[in-house]
Symmetry: C2
Subunit: 433 residues, 2 copies
C-alpha cells in the first residue's frame, strides 16, 4: 500500500486522554479514533491487526472442532427474563425499547440466545457434542470506560458455547477449549497464564481466566513463580495431556479466590501480580438449559437438560494487550503474525527520480512475491518518515536513499532489535519473500 494514497493519521504528541501505553500508541499510530466514550472507529491498520487476531482465534476454534455462526447484536429481553438475568445484569446492559415498545438489549454475552437456538434446533444426544462460536460486537455500558479499547463499551469478542450429554462430555469440551486457548495465545506470542477463577462450586476446577502479566492490568493474581519457567508462548504444536496436567498443577488463582492460609505454595515462591484478562473459559452445567428448557433425548430415550460451558476471548482487547507486550520508546513493535504489514519502505528522497524509481521497483517486486508492504512515498522529510515508521511498528523497514543506491545497497532494519544491514534486492526478496 502506498502511504500517499492511504489513511494512517498519525499524531506527534501523546494525547492527554490516554493513560496507558497501548491507548497512547493506538491513537498516535492512527489505528483508532474515539467516537464517543468507550466507543471507537477502527482505522485501516487497526482493523487489519484486529482481523489477523480474529483469524488466528478462528483457526484454533475450527481446529478444535467448534463451528462458526453469527448471532445478532440486538436481543429480545424475554430471553433474559427466562434465564433470570434480565434484572440481575444491572446497568452494564444497554437496554433498548423498540418502536413497538418491545424491550430489547444490545448483547453483552450470548448464553441465553445460544441456549434458545439450541433448544429450537437440536433434539437428540446423537447430534452432540456441539460447540458453536461467533465473533461479534458486544456492548457493556461500563460506568467508567477507560484504557482505550482495553475497557471500551463496544468491543469485539469471540464467544462460544459447548453442548454435551453429560458431565464427562462437558469436561472433555472444556479441556479442548483449554488447549485451544493455550495454542491461540502462543500463536500470538503472548504469555497468558491460566488462572483459576473459581475455587469450587458447580464446575470444580473448570473455570480459568487467561491473564497476561502487565502493570496496567486490572486483575490481581497469585501464582507459583515456577510457572514462569514454563514456556507458554511456545505451545504452538500439539499439546499432550501430560503438558496440560503439568501446567494445571501450578498454583495460579484470582485474588478474590486466593486463600493465603490454605495455599500450598511456599511463601517465597508465591507471586502477586497484575494481569490483563484476555480469555475466560467456564463450565456452568445446566444453569441455562434448565431455566430455558433446552432438553435433549439421551440414549435411554429420556429427556435431560443439556450440559453447557462458555468460552470467551476479547478480540479487540487483544490488540491493546499485544501492544502492552510489544513496544519501545519509539512506538509499537509488532510480532509478524499480526503486523498490519510485514515491511515498510522508506523513500528518503521523494524528489530524486532515481531514488523513487528504485523504491517503486522494489515495492512492485515485493508485492509480486506476496509480501505485505507499506510504502512511504509521501512528499515528507526523512525525520517524519523514520518517526512514523517506528511508531507504526512494522517488523521490517527498508530504507532507500541516494547514498545507498550508489553502492547498490538497500538498508534493512529490524524494528525489534534495531539492527541495520545492507542487502541487494535479490537478498531482500529472499529474506522477506
Amino acid at each position: 500500500m502506498r502511504l500517499s494514497k492511504y489513511f494512517i493519521p498519525t499524531i506527534k504528541e501523546n494525547p492527554s486522554e490516554a493513560h496507558i501505553i497501548s491507548h497512547t500508541l493506538m491513537l498516535r499510530s492512527g489505528m483508532i479514533r474515539q467516537s464517543s466514550a468507550g466507543i471507537y472507529v477502527w482505522l485501516p491498520t487497526g482493523l487489519i491487526v484486529m482481523n489477523k487476531i480474529a483469524n488466528i482465534v478462528r483457526e484454533e476454534q475450527n481446529r478444535a472442532g467448534a463451528i462458526e455462526i453469527l448471532m445478532p447484536t440486538i436481543q429480545p429481553a424475554e430471553l433474559w427474563q427466562k434465564s433470570g438475568r434480565y434484572d440481575a445484569y444491572g446497568k452494564e446492559m444497554l437496554r433498548i425499547t423498540d418502536r413497538s415498545n418491545r424491550e430489547m438489549l444490545y448483547g453483552p454475552t450470548n448464553e441465553e440466545m445460544i441456549t434458545d437456538l439450541f433448544k429450537n434446533t437440536v433434539k437428540s444426544y446423537k447430534q452432540l457434542p456441539l460447540n458453536l462460536y461467533h465473533i461479534q460486537w458486544k456492548f457493556r455500558d461500563e460506568v467508567r470506560p477507560r484504557f482505550g479499547i482495553m475497557r471500551g463499551r463496544e468491543f469485539l469478542m469471540k464467544d462460544n458455547y459447548s453442548f454435551d450429554l453429560d458431565f464427562e462430555g462437558a469436561k472433555e469440551s472444556y479441556n479442548k477449549m483449554y488447549v485451544a486457548y493455550l495454542r491461540t495465545f502462543a500463536r500470538l506470542g503472548l504469555t497468558a497464564i491460566p488462572v483459576r477463577a473459581d475455587a469450587g462450586a458447580i464446575g470444580g476446577d473448570l473455570s480459568h481466566e487467561f491473564q497476561i502479566l502487565a502493570e496496567t492490568g486490572e486483575s490481581t493474581l497469585y501464582y507459583d513463580k515456577d510457572i514462569e519457567n514454563f514456556d507458554l508462548a511456545d505451545l504452538k504444536a500439539d499439546i499432550d495431556d501430560a503438558t496440560v496436567a503439568k501446567l494445571r498443577s501450578y498454583y495460579a488463582m484470582e485474588e478474590e479466590k486466593h486463600d493465603a492460609d490454605n495455599c500450598s505454595v511456599a511463601p517465597e515462591n508465591l507471586k502477586r501480580a497484575k494481569g490483563i484478562e484476555v480469555g475466560h473459559i467456564f463450565y456452568f452445567g445446566k444453569k441455562y438449559s434448565e431455566s430455558m428448557g433446552a432438553k435433549i433425548t439421551g440414549p435411554d430415550g429420556n429427556e435431560v437438560d443439556v450440559e453447557m460451558g462458555s468460552y470467551g476471548i476479547g478480540v479487540s482487547r487483544l490488540v491493546g494487550a499485544l501492544i502492552e507486550a510489544n513496544h519501545d520508546e519509539n512506538g509499537i513493535v509488532w510480532p509478524e503474525e499480526v503486523a498490519p504489514y510485514k515491511v515498510g519502505i522508506i523513500n528518503l528522497r521523494f524528489k530524486d527520480e532515481n531514488c523513487s524509481a528504485a523504491c517503486d521497483s522494489l515495492y512492485s517486486k515485493l508485492l509480486d512475491h506476496g509480501v505485505e508492504v507499506l510504502y512511504d512515498d509521501r512528499d515528507a522529510g526523512a525525520g517524519t518518515k523514520f518517526a512514523d515508521m517506528d511508531l507504526i511498528g512494522l517488523p521490517w523497514q527498508i530504507i532507500i536513499g541516494p547514498k545507498g543506491l550508489d553502492k547498490g545497497a538497500y538498508e534493512l532494519k529490524n524494528r525489534r532489535t534495531g539492527e541495520r544491514t545492507e542487502h541487494s534486492v535479490k537478498e531482500i526478496l529472499e529474506k522477506l519473500g
Copy 2:
C-alpha cells in the same frame, strides 16, 4: 466438512412465516433462524455465503481505491443533531439512552460519523481524493420487517463515503463506484440494472439504484427494454468509458421519478417491472460537510467544505437476492462464486464398509486438492440425503453407492442442469480440483 459433525438444521416443510422463496429456502436449508422480528441468527452455511459475498464486495472496493475501516454500531445522538437528521429520521432509528442518560442510537447509516471522522483527521486537499468504506451491521426499526433477511431490522451493509476537493473530483469518485458496482454484481452473476434514482436536484444524474428484477421486489422501475440485451452479468473485466456511457444512455428510472409525459422511450419499448434494490450510489455534495464543519484547505490556501458522496451495498440482502435468482423446485442452486461448499459427497450406504471407505478417501483427496467439500456421512437414508443436498444447493454432487463402486464409477451431478455423469476419481479431481 463432515455433516455428522456439522450444524445444518434443515427443515422438511415450508415454514408458514415465509412468504417469498428466498426466505423459505434459507430457513429450510438451515442458513438462518429468526431470533426476534426482523433479527436473525446466521447459521454456518448462511454465514459462509454472506462472507463470500462480503469478500467480493471488498475486493472490488479495494480495486477501486477505497480503503477499509470499521465504524462502531452505536453512535452519539449529537452527531445527528448537528446534521439536522436526528428528528427527521423518525421511528426507523433505534434510539437508546445509556446509563449516563446520554442519547445514543444504533447506526442506520454513517454519513454523520464519517464526516466527523474526516473533520478530525484530514485538513488538506493534498490528502484527497479519499474514499473510506466499512462493512458493518446496521439497524433500521422497520414497522413491518418481512421477507426474512431481505427486509430485516439488523442487516449487514457495505457503505462508503468519498471526499473530494471539488465537483469534478466528486464526479470522478462517483463514476469509479458506478463501475465498481457493475463489476461487483457481475461477479455475483447478477443482472442488476442501474436505475436513475434522482431526476435532478443537487447531483444532476449522480444517483443510481442497482435493481435486480424480481416479482417479489418492493421497488418499481420503468426502463427501456433494450437494456436487457446488454450483458450486465458479463461485466467482470475492465469496463471502459464507452461501455459506461452506453449503459447510462438507456432509460431506467424509479417509478417516483418517472414522468410518462416526458419520457423519451417509445411506449412499446418501455417496460415496468418490480426490482430488489441491492445497491445505491449517491452524490450529495456539501450537505454534511457544511452542516458539520468538515472543511479542507484548497490549493489557494482557502478553506472549503469538502464534496461528498455515499455508496451502499446490502450485503446480507444479497444473500436473499441471490437465492431469488438461483433456485428451482428442489432448493437453492448456488453459483460457484458464493456457494457455501463447491461439492457435496453423498454416501448412499453408510453401513457398507467399502462404500464408506471410498467416500472417506475421496473426501480426503478433495480436501488435499483444496476443494471445499461437504460430506454427508450421516447415518440416514438415501432419500433424506438427496433431498437435503438439493435443498442446500451446492453446485456439484458426488453420489457414491455400492453399485457404482463395483464398476469403479463415481456419479457426478451438476445441481443446475441435473446432468449426471460417471467418472473415475482421477477425473473428478481434475474436474473439481
